[in-house]
């Protein structure tokens, strides 16, 4: 039964299958005919049209490069602009005799041999019929010389290009960064279509972190050209959209004050507007002139910059790591009060050194004879080390680490610049993981005065100071205030919110100590309190570069300049209604009070004077 069934089925199946094979072949033939019809349409009917399009690529789709957005400071002063520059460019395919042309040009314009070689190298990498620059930044004389003989140089022409220019040069190099030629590695990561016509990309600083906004959107033009690839006529065009302009929170006048105030020293100054987190000053000295980087810096000039002992390419404000020294003391004091490890009125005796129980090692105070009996306020004012050794010992490293972390030590501040360093806030876990060693009690003591493993960036220090001045409401620094086109404007980066729960009277106790640093006769930075009608709260710091032996004496004049201590100062003002927070690090500056504090004082005075003058002007 089933046997007959299956045979019958097989017959039916067989016929059905052959039918389908035939149907499939017919369908395949029909569809293929469709392809053939389309091919006939393209290759016979449309041949002339397409052949003319393809002939010497007679219609070129030319990208229209958008103008890069400008960068302004908070008062509208231009920090990065585009200026026209003339370049001598050659389209190799249009030159009848390249060697002859180059040697005649070389004679005419006195072109150095290495530029010719560079051009020869570049030319080989270019696509056909693209214009390759031989000389850039031509001056008036060179322009005139070439203009006269231009008919004798087919394929050679003067082009105008916009070149990025940084009018403030080394003053803003570490904030704005610079643009440079796109290199091969960057080419892989950039969107091909958008950068079809662009030659430059932001390499550093704001130019790099806001590349997308500054670059704009590439347009295109369909251009009909003749056999020599000379443009005849534009068929179709879509305009590029210029990059958006950036308005920074930076105050270039204040920046200049800070940069000049550093004078002969290397160092960094960061000032933050407390209420917003906007960065007012972001100075790192020495800077460098970013303009040569735009057109391509000569190799030896770059080597000089790189090998310079002062390291001008090094962004100290963002990446410099320094021991905070005594500038941590206000934070340690606040930790002591918050954890009830000490009360503000409690007095401790300072004999000039501190010893851990059962250890002969003497941890010395900076003042040889000691400070006598001091309370919290006096300990901050006079920067008494022994007070903070004892306090740190009572607190222990775990609580110090926990508390300091809240102020952003040991982590990136989140500023809108790339390459920020995290610094290092030591902890028991960190030491075990990195050094495979237990934490020693002595290390807690020196952490209490900002020595040892603890390392901060000037930016971090400024941020922590601003957060303290803001009474625990966390301040996140940023540089871009507004991103604006002609028609619309949007705010800069989103700001991180949050606050540290702190007792108001504890903050007051610490701040009063910091006010006395500047305003009391015994304060370590009393020099900057003259001629002001408000109060500055500050703290000096001195960070050791060189370890000093137990019984040796540190004498500034005896040692090499580069081993002198770093001078630090943090401050905010006015103390009762803080507007600005400043952190200053002066490398090898010696004492914080004498070198770093006056720089901060100058910035605070200038900023608050401007602020007070403002409402009068505006009304």
């Amino acid at each position: 039964m089933s046997r007959t069934y299956s045979i019958k089925d097989n017959l039916v199946e067989n016929r059905l299958f052959i039918n389908r094979i035939v149907a499939a072949f017919i369908a395949i033939s029909l569809l293929t005919s469709g392809l053939v019809v389309r091919l006939i349409y393209l290759q016979i009917v449309g041949h002339e049209h397409y052949a003319s399009l393809a002939k010497d690529n007679s219609v070129k789709i030319v990208p229209l490069v958008p103008t890069r957005g400008l960068i302004y400071d908070r008062h509208g002063k231009v920090l990065a602009e585009n200026t026209p520059s003339y370049s001598l460019e050659i389209i190799p395919e249009q030159v009848p005799d390249m060697d002859d042309t180059l040697s005649r040009l070389q004679k005419l314009l006195d072109i150095p041999e290495e530029k010719i070689e560079l051009y020869q190298k570049q030319r080989k990498r270019q696509k056909r019929f693209t214009s390759t620059p031989l000389l850039i930044g031509l001056n008036e004389e060179e322009l005139a010389k070439f203009a006269v003989v231009r008919p004798y140089f087919p394929g050679v022409d003067i082009h105008t290009r916009l070149v990025r220019h940084y009018p403030y040069s080394d003053l803003t190099a570490h904030v704005i960064g610079y643009v440079g030629r796109i290199n091969e590695a960057e080419l892989k990561d950039l969107p091909v279509e958008e950068y079809r016509g662009s030659s430059h990309v932001g390499k550093l600083g704001i130019e790099s972190s806001y590349e997308t906004e500054l670059h704009g959107k590439t347009g295109y033009a369909e251009i009909e050209t003749n056999v020599q690839a000379r443009p005849l006529n534009t068929l179709n065009e879509a305009n590029p959209a210029s990059g958006t302009n950036l308005y920074l929170t930076l105050d270039i006048d204040l920046q200049k004050t800070a940069y000049d105030a550093l004078g002969i020293y290397n160092g960094a100054v960061v000032a933050i507007e407390i209420k917003t987190g906007g960065v007012l000053v972001f100075a790192s000295r020495p800077g460098f002139d970013p303009n040569p980087f735009v057109v391509g810096i000569a190799n030896d000039a770059y080597q000089t910059l790189q090998s310079s002992e002062n390291q001008p390419l090094y962004n100290r404000a963002l990446r410099g790591l320094y021991p905070p020294g005594s500038t941590v003391k206000p934070f340690i004091a606040l930790a002591g009060l918050e954890y009830d490890a000490i009360s503000a009125q409690q007095k401790l005796f300072c004999p000039g050194y501190y010893q851990l129980p059962g250890s002969p090692h003497k941890y010395r105070d900076w003042r040889k004879g000691g400070h006598g009996s001091v309370d919290l306020n006096e300990a901050i004012t006079e920067s008494c080390d022994v007070y903070f050794y004892r306090l740190a010992s009572t607190l222990g490293i775990d609580r110090i680490h926990e508390f300091m972390q809240k102020f952003g030590f040991g982590e990136k501040s989140g500023i809108d610049l790339v390459g920020e360093k995290e610094g290092l806030l030591p902890s028991r876990e960190w030491k075990f993981e990195k050094k495979k060693q237990a934490w020693y009690p002595g290390e807690t003591l020196i952490t209490g005065i900002g020595q040892g493993y603890h390392q901060v960036t000037p930016l971090q220090l400024a941020r922590a100071t601003a957060t303290l001045a803001n009474r625990g409401v966390i301040v996140t620094p940023y540089l871009v205030d507004r991103i604006a086109t002609l028609t619309e404007s949007k705010p800069g980066p989103a700001r991180q919110l949050g606050s540290i729960p702190l007792k108001s009277e504890n903050i007051n106790d610490v701040v009063n100590g910091m006010i006395n640093v500047v305003h009391s006769q015994r304060g370590t930075a009393k020099g900057i309190s003259k001629n002001i009608n408000y109060q500055i709260a500050g703290k000096t710091g001195t960070a050791q570069v060189l370890g000093i032996k137990q019984n040796a004496k540190y004498n500034e004049n005896d040692i090499d300049f580069k081993y002198r201590d770093h001078a630090l100062f943090i401050a905010f003002a006015p103390a009762d209604n803080p507007k600005i927070a400043v952190a200053v690090v002066v490398e090898n500056g010696g004492h914080g009070g004498s070198v770093a504090a006056p720089i901060a004082g100058q910035i605070i005075k200038q900023y608050l004077n401007d602020e007070m003058a403002k409402p009068a002007n505006e009304n």
Binding site: D9, V12, E13, L16, F17, I18, R20, I21, A24, F25, I28, S29, L31, T32, G34, L35, V36, R38, L39, I40, L42, Q43, I44, G46, H47, H49, Y50, A51, L53, A54, K55, D56, N57, I61, P63, K127, R128, F129, E193, R196, T218, Y220, E222, N236
Partner: protein, 374 residues
């Protein structure tokens, strides 16, 4: 009866022919594939800017592919049938594996790194899906009943969606059509197919919703390439210029200006047909299409001669899928279909697709050369 079968068998007179027959190689099909691969080298040399490196790498791949074809031609088709379900299951498992690994690695992943070499499960699924469907349907009487139809559709959809998720629209399309091909040759009623087409058309908006941004861009660009000549429309415009400028006779070998000037992107991979059309013109294109049609015709002939339902369905589906390759690729290059990543079979550079393709032809040869004489 016996003489009939003998006559239909290709009778090679030479020693070489005898060797090929011992190797279970189908000679007409072999000749077609051989010429296509030869053509591949000729065009690649021109499209790849005369880079010998590309030719060497392609040569290695083609060699491997022909070897695999020969090995598979030796296997008795009964073995394919027997392991169909298992191979399909394995393929699915590997697809899931890359999907999960892709999610861990955050990003599109199609490869399974086996240390020594990288393996693309979606390539294996291209063959195992029609095997699975053919096996499943051949276990029941034809034409398939609604229940079998439902299960078969499900079996096709699972790998298709997994691959579309990778996202690899081109391969997903090929897998779906290889499965659908089996259903068609199994005698799916015309009325049902019409109904399905209507349903699919109405599903388009939903499909649109699930597409990736770039996939949508491709469809939009296909509908109006001139809207975005610098970006996505660039390929289509440039490839039409290349093909059209080739004319009837073409610009001659190495005469392509469009690929030479870098106007034509992906000129050695998915858009190689444009270079071919520019250099060899309409006559060349017709020649290539005839070569493809001959290969397909031979495959359909093999299918029609196959002795059991499984072999028939599998063979005809493989032939059909080969045509889909050709049609979708050429269709996209000449601007009548949207740009999906399907290579020109046997000609395009790169990918493992040539290995899979020749593996399929190996199965076809196995079906043809292992017939029992009734």
């Amino acid at each position: 009866m016996k003489t009939e079968t003998r006559r239909e068998h290709f009778e090679p007179p030479s020693v070489l022919g005898n060797i090929l027959r011992k190797l279970h190689i189908d000679i007409p099909l072999f000749i077609g594939l051989f010429f296509a691969s030869l053509l591949s080298f000729v065009i690649l040399y021109s499209a790849g800017s005369q880079d010998m490196d590309i030719l060497m790498r392609q040569g290695a791949r083609v060699g491997l592919a022909f070897l695999l074809m020969t090995v598979l031609a030796h296997v008795n088709p009964y073995q394919f049938k027997r392991y169909s379900a298992m191979l399909f299951g394995m393929g699915l498992f590997l697809l899931f594996a890359v999907l999960i690994m892709g999610q861990i690695g955050k990003g599109a992943q199609r490869w399974l790194d086996l240390g020594v070499f990288r393996f693309q499960p979606s390539e294996m699924i291209k063959i195992t899906t029609p095997m699975m469907i053919a096996w499943y349907l051949s276990e029941h009487a034809l034409p398939p009943k609604p229940k079998q139809l439902f299960i078969a559709t499900l079996l096709i959809l699972i790998p298709t969606l997994l691959i579309a998720k990778q996202p690899d629209l081109g391969t997903a399309l090929l897998v779906a059509s290889s499965g659908a091909g089996v259903l068609f040759f199994a005698g799916l009623s015309w009325r049902f197919m019409l109904g399905m087409s209507a349903v699919l058309a109405s599903l388009t908006p939903i499909l649109w919703h699930f597409m990736h941004g770039y996939q949508r861009d491709r469809v939009l660009t296909f509908l109006n390439p001139e809207a975005d000549p610098l970006g996505r429309g660039y390929h289509i415009i440039q490839s039409k210029i290349a093909i059209g400028s080739g004319g009837v006779y073409g610009k001659g070998w190495l005469g392509s200006t469009q690929s030479e000037l870098d106007f034509l992107p992906e000129s050695s991979t998915d858009f190689i047909f444009a270079v071919f059309a520019e250099e060899f013109g309409l006559f060349g294109c017709l020649g290539l299409l005839v070569l493809y049609l001959l290969i397909i015709a031979r495959c359909l002939f093999i299918a029609s001669q196959a002795q059991d339902t499984y072999s028939r369905l599998l063979a005809s589906s493989l032939a059909f899928t080969f045509f889909v390759y050709v049609f979708v690729n050429i269709g996209m290059v000449i601007g009548v279909l949207p740009v999906v990543g399907v290579p020109l079979p046997l000609i395009s550079y790169g990918g493992t697709s040539i290995v899979t393709l020749l593996a399929g032809f190996g199965i076809l040869m196995s079906i043809h050369t292992h017939k029992k004489f009734l």
